[in-house]
Amino acid sequence: MIPTGHFLVVAALLFAIGAAGVIVRRNVLMILMSIELMLSGGSLTLIAFARHHGDVGGHGLAFLVVAVAAAEAAIGLAIIVALFRTRRTANADDANLLRDE
C-alpha cells in the first residue's frame, strides 16, 4: 500500500516545475505546456485524495479538468497561431501591442 503523501509530493513537484516554467520561459508554446504540467499536478492531487477517501467524486473533477485543459489548449494554440501570423514571433516578450511605451 502506497501512502497518500507520496502522491501529494509528486503532484506538488509537478505543479512547482510547471509554475517555474511559466515564470522562466518566454516561448508561448513552452508557457502553455508548463500550464498543462500544473493542471496535471492538480489532477494527481484530486485522484490521490479520491483514492484516500474512497470517494469517486475526485475522478469526476479530474475528468472535467481534462476537458477544460483540452479547451484551453485549443484556444491557446489558436492565439499562438494568430500571434505568429501578425508578429512573426512566438516570444511572449514581443507580444507587447497593448503596452504603454
Partner: protein, 168 residues
C-alpha cells in the same frame, strides 16, 4: 518493498524527470515529446491509484489529442525558436522564490504528515461504471456545462485562428 511501491518510485521518477526535461529544453518540439513521456508515466500513477478510466483518458486525450495539437502547431510555426533560458535577474527574485518554496514545503509537509495510508479500495472503484454514474447523476450540471465550454472553445479557436480578408 512491495511491487506497487517499486512501480510507484519508477513512475514518479519518470514523471518528475520528464517534467524537468520538458521545461528546460530550448527546442519546443523536444519539450513536447518529453511532455508526452511525462503524461504516459502520469497515466501509470493514475492506474496505481485505481483510477483506470482516467488513466485511459489521460493517454487518449492528453498524450493523444492535446499533444498532437501542440506538435502540429510547433511544426506549423516554420522556424523553431531556440530561446535562451536564463534565470530572472530582477532584484529580490531569489527572496520571493525562496519564500514561495518555503510556504509550499511547509503546507506540503503538513498535508503529508496528516494523510497516512488510504483505506482499501471498494469493489468497482474508479471503473467506467462508477464514473459514468457519477457524471450522469450527481455531476450532470458540470458535465453539460463542460460540453458548452468545449463547443465555445471550438468555435472560438476557429474564429481566432481564421485568416481575415485583409491578411490573406
Amino acid at each position: 518493498m512491495s511491487g506497487s511501491l517499486v512501480a510507484f518510485y519508477a513512475l514518479s521518477a519518470l514523471t518528475v524527470a520528464g517534467a524537468l526535461l520538458t521545461v528546460t529544453r530550448r527546442n519546443p518540439l523536444i519539450g513536447a515529446l518529453w511532455l508526452i513521456a511525462t503524461f504516459f508515466a502520469l497515466a501509470g500513477l493514475y492506474a496505481l491509484l485505481e483510477a483506470h478510466f482516467l488513466a485511459a483518458i489521460q493517454i487518449l486525450v492528453y498524450a493523444g489529442a492535446i499533444m498532437v495539437l501542440f506538435v502540429f502547431v510547433i511544426m506549423m510555426l516554420d522556424r523553431p525558436e531556440l530561446e535562451e533560458i536564463g534565470l530572472l535577474r530582477a532584484p529580490g527574485t531569489k527572496l520571493v522564490g525562496l519564500a514561495a518554496v518555503g510556504v509550499l514545503a511547509w503546507r506540503l509537509a503538513a498535508a503529508v504528515g496528516r494523510a497516512g495510508d488510504p483505506a482499501p479500495a471498494k469493489e468497482g472503484f474508479g471503473t467506467v461504471r462508477a464514473i459514468g454514474n457519477l457524471l450522469l447523476h450527481e455531476y450532470i450540471f458540470p458535465f453539460e456545462a463542460v460540453s458548452i465550454v468545449l463547443l465555445v472553445a471550438v468555435v472560438g479557436a476557429v474564429v481566432i485562428a481564421r485568416l481575415t480578408s485583409s491578411e490573406s
